[in-house]
Assembly symmetry: C2
Homo-oligomer: 147 residues x 2
Amino acid sequence: MTTDPAAALDKVFELAGRIGDLMQSDLAEHGLTPARAEVLLVLHHRRESLVQRQLSEVLRCTPRHVTSLVDTLEAHGWAVRTPHPSDRRATLVGLTSRGTAEAERLDTERRAAAHALLGKLPARDVAGFVRVADHVLDQLTPQDPPS
Amino acid sequence: MTTDPAAALDKVFELAGRIGDLMQSDLAEHGLTPARAEVLLVLHHRRESLVQRQLSEVLRCTPRHVTSLVDTLEAHGWAVRTPHPSDRRATLVGLTSRGTAEAERLDTERRAAAHALLGKLPARDVAGFVRVADHVLDQLTPQDPPS
DNA sequence: TATTGTTATACTCTATAACTATA
DNA sequence: TATAGTTATAGAGTATAACAATA
């Protein structure tokens, strides 16, 4: 029975690394990267077009980086830029139907993977895992109050 | 009580991301990056100099990348390259005293952080967390049998 | 004067390919 | 011929600074 806190944290990184590698392979096969996929998912979950400035806040990255990401997304036909109706400085970014389909695929894959990895465990164990994770997150300066 | 597997996996990434950001800030203050820190830790834990080829295997990266990392480590005085005694193609990489000190600092920080984040929890909960993590790791193709 | 997005530039992680020296 | 490490090049994430158009 391992109770060393350092070993427990190491597991978090090992898990994130291994699962992350798998996700990245899957994304790469579709011409996506984690950063680009996140843009797709944000736009999909909001179900509305966002101004690039908003995207940079949601994604916690610079406006410059949003420009790069949206450039690629647009070049691949997943997203489109449209002029903001009332603010001529701003640019709205929305999903194409292909982008929406891709975001939905990502969501489905995510759930399937989670089920494959945790589905065999008793719900009680999963809940305990989440409780510990939440405890750790509480120790870290809480940044995003659930809005 | 959250038992949704997808939500549980999300916690893993949230944890890794938040803790990773903290670590990265700490590393940056010392002129380090995660990749460079890993080299330091590998060399420190092995307590011996390694040939760059070995490093590339341990770090699971290309020999080319090892060259870059060691270049930086050497420029900062954390590591030194020495010729291999019997194979003139090979280059041994070892830690300087400063590099050793830095690696020890990293280890200490890691344990302190783990204790701060998990120390208040009952050992039973931590053990349960690790068991779930190990279960998930088992579901993933096991790559590294404990040597 | 403040804000939106872009061009310009740079650092790091990471990879592949071609090449040199050596085995 | 195979191996160790390097130069050359490239894509991606990410950043800051300067700038144009607009508010």
